[in-house]
Amino acid sequence: MSLILLFSLGFIIEKAVLIIALFALTLGVAAYSTYGERKIAAFFQDRLGPSNAGPWGLLQPLADGVKMFTKEDFVPNQSERWLYILAPGAFIFVALMASAVIPWGTTLTLGGLNWNLQVTDVNIGILYVVGLASLGVYGIMLGGWASNNKFSLYGAIRASSQMISYELAMGLSIIAIVMLSGSLSLKTIVDQQAGMWNVVYQPLGFILFLTCALAECNRAPFDMAECETELIGGYHTEYSAMKLGFFLFAEYINMFISCTVISCLYFGGYHFPGLDPNWLGGLMGPIILLSKSFFFIFVFMWIRWTLPRFRYDQLMHLGWKSLIPLAIVNMMLTGAGILFFGK
């Protein structure tokens, strides 16, 4: 099916609305993730966190946004100007693209219309996500390189090698899932978990995927690319104002998408035992999925504020010498399981 050929006006409108809604959602979640991050970090450290802007500090993201927009937008003198400007845009663009194939729910009945809650169900959805994840590194690399700052460059180089390394283990652990479900479509994978979540069959795969997702998002304990104590700010050392904001935002978007994907792959997506995703006119599905995602966002933050940062060689050792072999073992075990017990 050639995607382009299916375009019709109604289709385009439906999708456009969905896309805009998704963008809004994603950006909102990302924005509040920053708030959540501070708040959660505070709680872990027996603090209060932001509490002055609005009740419980709920308006803090807005304040941050205003601050970002009003700060001086600074372009370093010896930088590659256009790439410097392009990089954050590319980064956030790629991050936003990934939400297209995520099945947010079944069908939403709203105003007498049925809205399909997935922008597009391509039969290779999960590859699409992996592909975008692999593209994410360009924003970082270009940003780091274009800044003409050695710390930025270090950050960029670290980020790129780290992402390439961890993509492999991630792909391999996804393959185990694909073997179980027999499909690359995220929707199919989710629907197959209506009875039993994949994490039950794939505990090891889940841990691997989680680890890799942390690394792919440049989250602690794998935040080599921007670790303040070593590289000042890593690839975004030279960035300021909203360009910096884009970078930070995109990272949270990535985290959100990663968590959603984890939910879809291992935790049944919009399914929850005892809850029908079609309740509330189909709104239950998204609610379930978002709850799961938020939980994983919390887990991400929890991990960040618990574990110390890896050293760079440890990071590579972990990726190549532990995760990849484990992922292969996991894949083989899955294959054996399928062979002996059927699906």
Binding site: R47, W302, I303, W305, T306
Partner: protein, 184 residues
């Protein structure tokens, strides 16, 4: 070499498999942080609320005046001598005629400075003072931007004449008296 009784011999022993996969340790760490997550926060939103001070809190110094509004200090210099941080400096001057309502005795401190960056708030100055002129109070030393603002002169130290500007040091005074009257 055993230096103290409390020193521990560190042995780098081979880690067991369970230790090497780190997951239990990570889980333990997560559990620890999670416990903190649900612990009550210790934060005091300072400008809005203030935490309680101990009765013997030693803060910003004050140079007392007597009931008639005369400075107690005679610039004898004992406080400066007692100060372990050498934070106190002063210049003495003789009281002129017509200044009796200002200074209690013939000699007074024309300049009296405490460097708040040096001061360690130990309270030895007040113990040394024979005239009950200097006390540490429960006021917090205000913050500022430059070092020079932390050398407090008499303008910052001497309490006001008006009754509402007087600083209450009774608790402190009692404590000092008790301390000084205790047999050595």
């Amino acid at each position: 070499m055993q230096l103290t009784q409390r020193s521990k011999n560190v042995v780098k022993k081979e880690m067991t498999f369970l230790e090497r996969i780190y997951l239990p340790a990570i889980a333990k760490g997560m559990w620890t942080t999670l416990k903190h997550f649900f612990r009550k926060s210790n934060t005091v939103s300072y400008p809005k609320e203030q935490r309680e001070f101990a009765p013997v809190y030693r803060g910003w110094h004050v140079l007392k005046r007597d009931e008639q509004g005369r400075e107690n200090c005679t610039a004898c210099g004992l406080c400066a001598v007692a100060c372990p941080a050498e934070a106190i400096t002063m210049e003495a001057a003789e009281r002129e005629r017509g200044e009796e309502h200002l200074y209690r005795e013939e000699k007074y401190a024309a300049v009296y400075e405490i460097n708040m960056l040096r001061c360690i708030f130990c309270g030895l100055c007040e113990e040394a003072c024979p005239k009950e002129a200097i006390f540490l109070t429960d006021r917090i030393v205000p913050s500022d931007y430059a070092r020079q603002y932390f050398v407090f002169g008499k303008d910052m130290l001497v309490e006001g004449v008006e009754p509402d500007k007087r600083v209450d040091v009774t608790v402190r005074q009692k404590h000092i008296t008790e301390k000084n009257t205790q047999p050595a």
